[in-house]
Amino acid sequence: MKVTRENIIWESHQKHVPTIDDEGGKLWGCFRSCFLQSAAPYTEGVAYKILKNDLGIDLREAAGHTSCGAIGYHGDVTTIETQMVVAARNFAVAHEELGVDNLFSFCVTSFANYTEMIHLWEEEPELREYTAKILKETTGREFWIPRVSGNRPSVVHASDVFYANRHKLAQKAKYSLKGIKAVDHIGCHYGKIFPGEAMGGVEFPQVLVGLLEAFGAEIVDYPERRHCCGMGFRQCAFPENRDYTASSTYKKLASLKQAHPDCNLILTNCPGCTVFLDAEQGTIKEVLEEEFNVSVLDYAQLTGLMLGYDPFKDCGLNAKAVEVEPLLDKIGIPYDKSKTAEQRRRPF
């Protein structure tokens, strides 16, 4: 049997993310990612430009928004109670100070964390009361739960907003992925914790495949497609544990190359995968002398390239371990060839 997504009833995992043509779809509040701000700030930069300039979205962010703290939660320095009240505070700030009802986060762990807290409030009324009480006592703010998808308590991820507007983005694209083989790598915290909150569920998520197909790419499948990149919080954060990260990346890429040696593009929606699936290819090259040469781009970087944003200055592809020029040549995206690879990457 040919296993394609058509075989799978994934309609039950449909989210209802407002497009820019829907009511309220042009006003969004957003939460930044700790990891992207620290290790790949340009990805949020180009996402901002696309959402504001190309989709005309009024994107709002409060100076007083804090991190959701979930790296500390999965890194075992906070409690579930802390996560609930910090989430409630960020929601209250967005609603009271910015006047927004629709919220997305740039980080999949924030998305999962906010979703987890919303589920807890729904399932455990006493925790909802606790959160509202502590929020009031510590900040004076009022408890409010966003209802982004289908008017039920929920938030969404930035890649969901790109997916919802993918046909608009594809209409504006200057380049096409026709003839390019590509595959998605969905962040674990986008789909595995709450499969019902992932666009298309956890087995055949549509969020990135839909975007790739809108730009004309040919999607390939491989055995370890859903294996974790190995970011693993404490596993990547502490260098002595990072063989875990490199091993996971190796397992995935060896599997991809065995199935599709000519696939050189992985699309991601998680900050950790975006950084480590690329960076660990550098480690593997050095340690095992094996090269995979698979470019790992996030949904905003790829959309940016398609829309004609500069690969280096806007999309930040000068910080990648895997050289992006062969992929740019294959797609037909121009860049300054009078400069050397190093000059393109080091402007000062």
Binding site: S67, T82, G230, Y244, R345
Partner: protein, 259 residues
Amino acid sequence: MTLFETVLGDSDNYFSIFNTAIIFIYMSKLVDELKQDIQYQHGMNACLNCGICTAVCPAAEVYDYSPREVMNICQTEDEEWLIDLLKSDKIWFCGQCYSCKPRCPRGNSTADVILALRRLSVRHGYFAESEKGRQQLFAKRVFGENMLKRGYTLTAENITPEHFPELGENWEYYFEHMKEMREWWDVPMDKENSAGSHRIIPEKDMDELRKIYKATGAMELMEAVEKGMEKKLGSKKEVEKFWDNWVETADSRNYEMKH
């Protein structure tokens, strides 16, 4: 002879009964404490020990780790096994990817059980008994203190070329030109009174965040890390040596444990 010795016979016997009683009360409390954790309640229903979690687990592939074993130990509610688990490296091997969660036919979530176990291990100081557990000092001083100081779990300054050599020479170049590179990419950092990448969060908002951390037990959990490390290493000075070694060499194993 003391009154207790009169009642309970010789002193050896008395101490053995007394210790057993203390250990029993203490360990019963541990199991109860674990079962009170809402995350444990949601993550542990009834495990049939099928092993699907272990089959899909990235950590099980590279470490001496089995989520199935963790679930089994918890389900037995055996106090001694639980303490051994809390003192071991095992609970720290999980990468928190939750690959186990959607696969479990019984709706369990080992990754959530792991979080409950780790907090229990920290609260009771058992984390300091294992090599991977002692890394909790770095988690506390990086993720935890960053939140309290800046409102982010990670900061740009954390991603050093020394600790992240795989990011390569272009990252070294970026790190030397951090401010200019971020402006070149159009994502300037550390701006005040504005939205934006890595902005300075206003002090009134930081105050609210710190109050939340205090009221919800995060501060207590972080303090337990410092205290547990001090107890294990012998003094605050040794804890600083352990930390300095990690910052300088990026490998906690270069610190020689005395016992």
